[in-house]
């Protein structure tokens, strides 16, 4: 088969989305694909550009990786801009001189920042805000500066102001129009936004036109405004809108709009039918779509058409919800009420700083638009009414009024049409979700896995949960969060009862709140809760029998009934003397020895009755239990950090030791793993852990809720540049909040995904103390830390506890059924075939 060749020009977010969509199709094999990218690196997330100054690195923002492109079989040409298109010969020429023929050409050239032609705008302390290179330049210029000005008070301008603020500059925003975000917001919303932003220390100058920029003493810049006002600043960032990057198309004779932009039809084809244009360079219906979601839709349209399917792009809704400088802002449809015959309902709360306005038709039956500032909780519901042209309820004002009985009226998910888009990041409709549930997905997590819904920005999580729950209920699947048949409560509810009523034993808990005799689910869960709250030894009388075998015998049972032993090696640091002890013990008891993934040493093949002797020798040498058997803190992995490594910026081993020694012994809903890296190279792989700490020049970045294993999850950046004390404080709070609220056997990753409000909510609880519980969380953690005991040390000194470590209660003979064979100079359990062979007489 002769393959057709696709050449893609531009590798921004939309170009990347096109390539990603194509890679996931079976038709991918029909094409050779070549990509020209003018920038030195593949696509990255420009929407979150300002986070580059908040601790996220270029790698964190990367969307396309070079290896990924290689895996997909794409020929990626970085640092090589396309400079000419010969449409007759169907050849693209690049800056490096490459000539590449194409069958299909995709223009994803994006846009460039508009710089108003103010005299002096070309000064070298004037910047634009578009690429990582721009940000590097701004950062360099900000080093010695105090003041920074952004020209432009739109969405991107405010993002840029946030960036300047994060660089430690006194930020000013200069806007020509009378209000901020004048495209998306009406006057009331815009005024409130301004108030909130000024409270945060950003000075806003509206109705201000810059006439001249000139250098004054000491290399600073003086901005002369119309009407005799002026401002002296150290640098200026222009963010006054975007213009489509259409020069290449123009020189190739492709039709442009009157004011620029590559004209496309509803198939995203340009005036040359072999050439597509997608994203911000494309002009459809005389409009440029400067948001990422419509760009993605165009990319998918082009992919479908290339694969021989019918597809259309018919414009896009430009509604948007975002957080600007920490202020929630939402804009839906006709926010200004410009459509004829509009009526408005407005809610203003000056006390809390909330502005909400709904634009309806004259009868109040349909929603035409909305503006939300200070609280975007109603955004999802309003957007669904707008997009699906649904009839508004009888009293539409209730959609934006605070609910008096405490429960906000939410849109009945059942009322949504199947075509309603739930997740716009991944274009998942209600129908897709219903299909996933009917296809066997029984939980929110399953649906997320199957459809990718709510795995982008996460803004639709509450709505998604609503749809999934409704659909499960409709199928007759009872959404049952009961712990087990003996307790009709969730783990969180039981935790609360145990805490408030100070319940100390399982019998008391069962008697008061449960029924029956308990099982292998509720008993260990209760034991874990008792341990988190009261921290008594797990073998103390009333708790005996609550644990499964690993916790009971404080070792990990292996397939032949023997155990493995893992002493704690905090931070992976061990003296030669202790290493020798481990070797001696392993040799004496003939234990198979292996290094674990968590920088510890695992000793396998110990018989039940050998465990106390082994632990007597280990504790005599100063070892403590490693809790490898428990739902508790396992290891804190670390790299050597600044002590030895030439790249290290902080003492990562020291911090790992502090953290591991603090949280060892904490019983939790599931196991917890942590890591500390000494620099951004991240050798300790902290971003795959429940708690990950990465050193920065200024302190520590804290990552939360990562996970390796079956369903890996990259940890989320929770807070940046923390000092030691604040770092520990936040970890204390996060862990205790997790211990209190997680479901049974729920890892932190799934816990966070199911936490309504997600990462932002967790930040509000832990950093802003929204629930007013931080002090209590810290006290509880302090109690656990203060009552720590090495369970093994206590056990080997208690004859009653040791009674259990007997293979047979009536004789000292060994279990003859345990058979080992040798392999690679160590013991291992014999297979069933080997056992049969050994038993047969020769």
């Amino acid at each position: 088969m002769v393959k057709q060749k696709i050449v893609v020009i531009g590798n921004g977010m939309v170009g990347h989305h096109f390539l990603e969509q194509l890679a996931n199709r079976s038709e991918r094999e029909m094409f050779d694909v070549l990509v020209f990218c003018a920038e030195p690196r593949p696509a990255y997330d420009r929407v979150h550009l300002s986070e580059y100054f908040g601790g996220r690195t270029a790698d964190d923002l990367a969307m396309g990786k070079v290896e990924q492109y290689r895996e997909w079989g794409y020929d990626l040409r970085l640092n090589d801009a396309a400079v000419a298109i010969d449409r007759e010969a169907k050849i693209v020429t690049s800056a490096s001189g490459a000539s590449e023929p194409y069958d299909h050409l995709v223009l994803a050239t994006g846009s460039y920042p508009f710089v108003p032609p103010i005299p002096g705008h070309e000064h070298d302390k004037c910047f634009v805000y578009r690429t990582l290179e721009d940000l590097d330049k701004i950062q360099a210029a900000a080093k010695d500066g105090k003041i920074g000005v952004v020209v432009g008070g739109g969405l991107l301008g405010l993002e840029a102001a946030n960036a300047l603020k994060q660089l430690g500059l006194e930020a000013h925003v200069v806007e020509f129009a009378p209000g901020l975000m004048s495209v998306q917001l009406d006057e009331g919303g815009s005024n409130l936004l301004r108030e909130k932003i000024e409270e945060l220390g950003v000075t806003v100058h509206t109705s201000t036109a810059t006439e001249l920029i000139e250098e004054v003493d000491g290399g600073r810049l003086r901005m002369q405004f119309k009407g005799d006002k002026e401002l002296v600043t150290d640098l200026i960032v222009f963010s006054a809108g975007i213009r489509p990057e259409d020069k290449l198309a123009n020189s190739a004779g492709i039709a442009l709009g009157e004011r620029g932009g590559i004209v496309v039809d509803n198939q995203c084809r340009t005036s040359d039918k072999n050439i597509f244009a997608i994203g911000e360079c494309a002009l459809f219906d005389n409009r440029i779509f400067g948001l990422v979601a419509p760009g993605y839709t165009m990319a998918r349209t082009a992919v479908s058409l290339l694969c021989g399917e019918a597809a259309e792009f018919n414009g896009a809704d430009m509604s948007t919800k975002l957080k600007l400088l920490g202020v929630d802002v939402g804009s839906i449809g006709d926010a200004h009420g410009r459509t004829e015959g509009s009526a408005a309902i407005t809610f203003v709360d000056e006390q809390t700083g909330v502005y909400k306005r709904m634009i309806t038709d004259r009868d109040g039956k349909k929603l035409r638009g909305a503006v939300l500032v200070g609280d975007t909780g109603d955004y999802d519901t309003l957007l669904q009414y707008h997009l699906n042209d649904m009839d508004l309820p009888e009293h539409p004002e209730q959609l934006i009024l605070p609910a008096l009985d405490g429960a906000a009226p939410t849109l009945g998910a059942g009322a949504l049409p199947d075509t309603a888009t739930i997740c716009s990041c991944h274009n998942v409709s209600k129908g897709d979700i219903v299909g996933a549930v009917q296809g066997g997905c029984c939980s929110l997590g399953d649906v997320k896995d199957a459809t990718k819904a709510s795995t982008g920005c996460g803004g639709c999580s509450a709505l998604l949960k609503n749809v999934v729950d409704t659909e499960l209920a409709a199928l007759g699947v009872e959404v049952n969060n009961d712990l087990c048949p003996h307790f009709p409560y969730t783990r969180q509810e039981i935790f609360h009862m145990v805490q408030v009523e100070e319940i100390k034993t399982f019998d008391e808990l069962l008697h008061k709140h449960g029924s029956g005799k308990g099982c292998e689910i509720c008993k260990p869960t209760a034991a874990s809760i008792f341990a988190s709250l009261w921290n008594e030894h797990i073998h103390k009388k009333p708790h005996v029998g609550l644990q499964d075998t690993n916790d009971t015998f404080m070792a990990n049972m292996q397939k032949n009934g023997t155990y493995s032993v893992v002493p704690r090696i905090a931070g992976g640091e061990i003296t030669p003397e202790k290493l020798i002890v481990l070797g001696q013990v392993a040799k004496k008891y003939d234990l198979y020895t292996k290094i674990t993934g968590g920088q510890r040493i695992d000793l396998f093949g110990a018989r039940l009755e050998e465990l106390p002797e082994i632990w007597r020798e280990l504790t005599d040498a100063g070892f403590e239990t490693g809790h490898a058997y428990g739902k508790s803190l396992r290891t804190v992995k670390s790299c050597v950090g600044s002590t030895w490594c030439r790249f290290g910026v902080q003492d990562s081993v020291g911090m790992a030791l502090t953290v591991e020694n603090r949280y060892k012994g904490l019983r939790s809903p599931h196991k917890i793993k942590m890591a500390v890296s000494g620099c951004t190279r991240e050798c300790a792989e902290a971003q795959s852990k429940d708690i990950g700490v990465i050193a920065t020049e200024n302190g520590w970045n804290l990552y939360v809720c990562g996970n390796g294993g079956m369903r890996p999850r990259h940890a989320d950046l929770f807070a940046t540049d923390l000092d030691d004390v604040t770092l520990i404080k936040y970890i204390d709070r996060i862990l205790m909040f997790y211990v209190r609220t997680a479901d049974k056997l729920q890892r932190t990753s799934v816990w966070l995904e199911n936490l309504e409000g997600g990462l932002d909510y967790l930040r509000e609880v832990v950093i802003e103390d929204k629930l007013g519980i931080c002090e209590e969380l810290e006290r509880q953690m302090g109690n656990v830390v203060g009552t720590y005991q090495c369970e093994w040390k206590t056990a080997i000194n208690d004859p009653e506890m040791l009674k259990r470590f007997r293979q047979f209660v009536n004789t000292d003979v060994k279990d003859e059924k345990i058979v080992f064979v040798e392999e690679r100079k160590q013991r291992r359990p014999a297979t069933q075939e080997e056992i049969v062979k050994i038993a047969e007489p020769a």
């Binding site: 048949p485 003996h486 029956g516 005799k517 308990g518 099982c519 292998e520 689910i521 008993k523 260990p524 005996v544 029998g545 609550l546 644990q547 499964d548 075998t549 690993n550 009971t552 015998f553 049972m557 397939k559 032949n560 009934g561 039940l608 009674k803 259990r804 007997r806 293979q807 047979f808 209660v809 009536n810 004789t811 003979v813 279990d815 059924k817 345990i818 069933q832």
Partner: protein
């Protein structure tokens, strides 16, 4: 040629009450057989004895399982692959064709006695 098997059934003293662990299991070796003993002091019937051998995992571990009530019946969950075995008769709840041997067991003073076929 034929061989006549003689079966004797008798009560054997296995261990003392103090060897047991309340609300949990231990293991005894009786006539070469590993037997798991469970002592549940709160229940009407306080003692249970079933085979210690887990036929699914091929390991002697049943006595180290956790006691669990499933639909009103007392069971032990195998520590390795988590199947439930009924304490009264050794029946596996997940696999109908798997049943562990169960033995009559009782206290006589401080002694624990098992009725055992030899």
């Amino acid at each position: 040629m034929s061989e006549v098997a003689i079966t004797r059934t008798e009560w054997l003293q296995v261990c003392k009450r103090s060897d047991l662990v309340a609300n949990s299991g231990v293991c005894a070796l009786v006539g070469g057989r590993q037997i798991a003993l469970f002592f549940l002091p709160e229940q009407e019937s306080q003692l249970y004895a079933i085979d210690n051998w887990d036929p699914v995992a091929n390991a002697g571990v049943i006595g180290r399982g956790i006691v669990a009530e499933i639909d009103g019946e007392l069971t032990v969950a195998s520590p390795l692959y988590k199947q439930h075995y009924r304490l009264t008769d050794g029946q596996c709840l997940e696999e109908a064709d798997i049943q562990l041997a169960a033995y009559p067991v009782a206290f006589e003073g401080d002694d624990v006695l098992i009725k055992f076929d030899q």
